[in-house]
């Protein structure tokens, strides 16, 4: 019986593989018997019926027994599994079936046995190929030999503990030049000339800070220089590249999303602590850090303070942030008071501050500060000297506390100890920051839970103590260590190699007494490095950020990922969690900034467009021919409104400004004049705007212009009271000014009331007054006579003039159980009549409107 026919009886349909498997099992289990006809006379009994033919009888019983044994054996074999199939997803490897080295050590013997059983070839160590059969041309061979020499020289240089010179990493010089410069360095160091930088460790770690200039890319292994010319690797790149899809953006190679499916698990672990029992971590070293010091002798005028105050619209310089040292998260503005994007600020003291920025806007802010603060400010570019790990979820603190150990006496560490097992960190005060010196996390052979000494967890007083007994001096001393390039460099002193650590661990094992503490390599006070770290809870994004010196990040990362139920994530998961919690994700949800605007109208648009164009004609949605979108049709356009592949803010600007102009004297809005074609001003030659169709003609005039970010069509407004009518007469002719004056928009999070969910770039419409009654009824639910909800309603269509915004990101929300959407709306003209906060959302290329409730997101 095939799967298809069994499906007819209401059973579950089987796929091809399942059918095959089932058939295989069934075949194995059937026991063959001898057919009656196969024996010569067809019977064991003689013709007369009185005698048994013993020989034949025995033969056929023998056959049956044999078949029975065979069937037992076969059915056992069919269901057999291999040892690598029993591994959790995290430990499975692509070639584990034939390469035992891909299987954990404790299972290798069994795997080998299984391979022998199925006559598999075992992979042994690769032998060097015969030199005659290398298949290289003479030139290739020469090049390879040269690079071997180069690597050898570079190796010599690190073993002599010299940092590699800058021109080694330059992309424009060839191997010969590189070797030459390496040789001179080695020679010079032997003569002990002083202009070579000496390393203080065997790992090749050094502090790579740019003082009042941008830092060069970090020099890691020479083998990988060429791959990092344009996109720098994060410290955990090699680890992440094996486990995630990577993207190259903003000068970094950043993990985008784990290769393993994780949409649901991200939702479960990351969004609400009550449902979570694990943690999500991410290498966020691509976020650029700069340290700004005010080193002017007279500090009366608070130069730095006024600068930061200007950049954050007086927010980051309030008492809460400067004196109480709360981590600031907010918008940063440029010189024209246009928002640039999100930024994070931590004040170290009155005269120095840490600024953490997204890589896309880092360089512009850095250069601006450099220009403004000539001679007065000293700015460290710590992009490649401070790394960070972002971690969230109920197990975040437990995981962190099981890898962090402080050998020094520290009040901050003791405070951290008290909350080490807290799952729901919303109980912590807004300022939750810990800073202490910890030992190399690799000293722990396995991550181990920290003994807090409180079996029942912290009391309420302990939590309040975090706020009242904040160890300010203690933290200030560590902050100064993190922000000083020399002290960061010092933290690398005697950084252990894995070999060195293994040696010490071995000594520990053989040491007496036998029952002493063997999980942790004891800290040697004089020689071992101490790592200054900052651990901050970000109040708005509800996660923890661990900031460590760049070359120390990898040991922390390795240990963290050994804790159970800690998973790595990428940018995609950040976006997902931001969406689920109704926050904006930079840059996709920030169209009011230059970077967000370009992301939407250039980067994402072109990707979507290319995808659409690749499709065969029959599968392409013909956007221009979609009918029944609006109740009124205009000659200026057909089908879908605006650009099909992005949020068309330009259209919204022209439309809203145009309507604002047309109805300025509370005249009724004219859609189009069938008697006249478009009119132009006699003197200037500009288009005259008399009706709605003319507005769309203006849009058609400008829509093919090159996208530029010098003038953004929208500006963000957070308060309804500051929505004001744009001054349209200001910029000359009306057809120019409506395409120039930016319109105010507010960020909203919409939740869909009925079935269906919105998608990215969906259109938002207001509800026309005439249809309000219908939609209010819809909100309550329209029921059929049998008491069930009626979803087949004839929906009244809004008009083109009701378009008020776009959705920047939307999908089904796993937590809420219905569609959710983040977008921007132009809310001014009807905020008073629409108390219900209802809008209609329509996906691109469809004519179905969905009712949604919106609430404002304050940015």
């Amino acid at each position: 019986m095939t799967g298809r026919s069994s499906g007819a009886g209401g059973k579950k349909q089987l796929n091809k593989n399942q059918v095959f498997k089932r058939q295989k099992v069934r075949n194995a289990r059937t026991i063959r018997t001898e057919a009656l006809a196969s024996s010569k006379d067809g019977n064991d009994i003689s013709e007369s019926g009185g005698m048994l033919k013993v020989d034949q009888f025995i033969l056929s019983r023998k056959f049956e027994i044999k078949q029975l044994q065979l069937a037992m054996h076969n059915s056992k074999l069919t269901s057999s599994t291999r040892v690598f199939q029993a591994l959790p997803r995290k430990l499975r490897r692509r070639t584990a079936s034939h390469n035992v080295r891909r299987i954990p050590k404790r299972m290798r013997n069994r795997a080998l046995r299984e391979m022998m059983k199925s006559d598999q070839q075992q992979i042994t160590k690769r032998r060097p190929k015969n030199s005659k059969t290398h298949g290289l041309t003479a030139a290739q061979l020469y090049k390879l030999r040269m690079s071997v020499k180069l690597l050898r020289l570079a190796g010599k240089s690190t073993s002599l503990k010299l940092a590699l010179p800058e021109n080694i990493t330059a992309s424009n010089c060839n191997i010969r030049q590189k070797m030459k410069s390496l040789k001179t360095i080695i020679k010079e160091s032997k003569n002990s000339k002083s202009d070579v930088i000496k390393l203080n460790n065997k790992m090749g770690s050094y502090d790579n800070t740019g003082m009042n200039k941008l830092a060069p890319i970090p020099k890691g292994r020479i083998k990988y220089f060429k791959r990092q010319r344009f996109f720098t690797w994060l410290p955990t790149h090699v680890w992440n590249a094996k486990r995630s899809h990577m993207i190259k953006r903003w000068g970094y190679q950043i993990p985008w999303s784990p290769t393993q499916k994780c949409f649901k698990s991200t939702h479960r672990l990351g969004s609400h602590s009550a449902a979570s029992d694990g943690a999500l971590c991410m290498d966020s070293s691509f976020m650029g850090t700069m340290i700004v010091n005010d080193n002017s002798p007279e500090k009366v005028d608070n130069f730095l303070k006024s600068l930061i105050s200007d950049m954050t619209r007086k927010r980051a310089t309030l008492k809460k942030y400067i004196e109480s040292q709360t981590w600031f998260q907010g918008l940063i503005y440029d010189t024209n008071q246009v928002a640039q994007g999100p930024c994070e600020i931590l004040w170290i003291n009155e005269n120095s501050v840490i600024v953490r920025l997204h890589p896309s806007l880092y360089v512009s802010v850095f250069n601006r500060l450099l220009e403004l603060g000539k001679k007065r400010l000293s700015i460290q570019d710590c992009r490649y000297s401070l790394g960070s790990i972002t971690i969230r979820g109920a197990k975040a603190l437990t995981a962190l506390s099981s890898i962090l150990r402080s050998p020094m006496r520290s009040t901050s560490f003791n405070q951290f100890k008290t909350i080490a097992n807290v799952t729901d960190e919303t109980i912590l005060p807004q300022r939750s920051m810990f800073a202490f010196e910890c030992s190399d996390p690799r000293y722990l052979s396995t991550p181990k839970k920290l003994n807090t000494g409180q079996p029942n967890g912290p009391s309420a007083d302990d939590i309040i103590n975090l706020q009242t007994a904040f160890p300010k001096d203690d933290i200030a001393s560590i902050l100064s260590k993190v922000t000083d390039p020399k002290l960061r460099e010092k933290s690398y002193e005697n950084q252990n190699t894995l070999k060195g650590l293994a040696k010490r661990r071995q000594q520990l094992q053989t040491m007496k007494p036998a029952d002493s503490f063997k999980n942790l390599i004891p800290f040697r006070k004089e020689q071992d490095p101490l790592i200054p770290i900052i651990l901050v809870r970000r109040y708005i994004t509800k996660d923890w950020v661990l900031i460590v010196p760049w070359f120390w990040l990898l040991p922390f990362w390795y240990q963290l990922n050994r804790v159970s139920r800690v998973y790595h994530t990428g940018l995609r998961q950040c976006q997902q969690l931001d969406f689920e919690e109704g926050r904006l994700y930079f840059p996709d949800d920030y169209p009011f900034t230059k970077i967000g605007y370009m992301e939407n109208s250039l980067y994402k648009k072109e990707t979507l467009q290319a995808k659409w164009q690749k499709k065969p004609v029959s599968k392409k949605v013909n956007y221009a021919k979609i009918k029944g979108i609006h109740f009124n049709e205009l000659p200026a356009f057909t089908g879908e409104i605006g650009d099909y592949f992005s949020c068309d803010w330009k259209l919204l600007q022209i439309l809203r400004n145009g309507i604002c102009y047309l109805s300025k004297n509370s005249e009724e809005l004219k859609t189009c004049d069938p008697k006249r074609t478009a009119q132009f001003d006699e003197k200037t030659g500009y288009r005259l705007i008399n009706n709605l169709n003319d507005v769309f003609e203006v849009y058609n005039d400008v829509k093919n212009n090159v996208v530029d970010d010098s003038e953004l069509p929208i500006k963000l407004v957070n308060k309804a009271s500051s929505f004001e009518a744009p001054d349209l007469m200001f910029n000359g002719p009306i057809s120019v000014s409506i395409a120039k004056v930016p319109i105010p928009v507010m960020a909203v999070s919409c939740s869909l009331v009925e079935k269906g969910h919105a998608k990215d770039n969906a259109r938002i419409y207001r509800i026309p007054e005439k249809d309000m009654g219908f939609w209010l009824q819809m909100l309550k639910g329209i029921y059929r006579s049998d008491g069930k909800k009626d979803h087949d309603q004839e929906i009244p269509l809004p008009g083109v003039q009701d378009l008020i915004g776009f959705i920047t990101s939307a999908t089904y929300h796993l937590g809420e159980g219905h569609g959710m959407a983040t977008g921007y709306i132009y809310n001014r003209p009807f905020s008073d009549i629409n108390d219900q906060k209802l809008v209609l959302i329509r996906n691109i290329g469809t004519n179905v409107y969905r009712l949604a409730k919106w609430k404002q997101i304050v940015v």
């Binding site: 109480s324 097992n421 729901d424 939590i463």
Partner: protein
């Protein structure tokens, strides 16, 4: 973490920003055996969850009872669930009264007026934590009588 419906000022010049949840720590034993009853959690779904927990605990034997915790407004619901298991299902039930410390986040109006004018967002004001005791019940529903 829920915003309070009435964040009016009280007589001390402070404003209650939010009530924080009780302190919880990570322990696999409690995850599998403890249910926190909220005033908003539906009666039937808690009953179903208790059944599910009992079934699982019978298999694993991690704990001899299922523990229900309810404080404040949720006490009545917790007790009625306890009664359901005692009377209808005939299980042994222990009830203990407890008092739990919770934390409130308060916001005081700024003293200096110059700062006050500058602050636009409530987010930028400093907050203070304060302890409060809430009484509640702890109900143990035993697997075996």
């Amino acid at each position: 973490m829920r915003k309070m419906g009435n964040n009016k000022e009280n007589k001390y010049g402070s404003k209650l920003i939010r009530k924080r949840p009780t302190i919880k720590t990570l322990s696999h034993k409690t995850i599998k055996s403890t249910i926190y009853v909220k005033s908003s959690s539906p009666y039937i779904s808690v009953v179903k969850r208790v059944h599910k927990f009992i079934e699982q605990l019978n298999k694993t034997g991690r704990s001899p009872y299922v523990r229900l915790m309810g404080i404040g407004k949720a006490v009545e619901k917790t007790l009625s669930i306890a009664c359901h298991f005692q009377e209808e299902k005939g299980r042994r039930v222990d009830v203990k009264t407890i008092s739990v410390d919770v934390i409130d986040e308060l916001q005081y109006q700024e003293d200096h007026e110059e700062q006050e004018e500058e602050i636009e967002n409530d987010e930028d004001r400093e907050t203070v934590l304060k302890k409060r005791s809430v009484s509640g019940v702890e109900v143990k529903i035993y697997l075996a009588n």
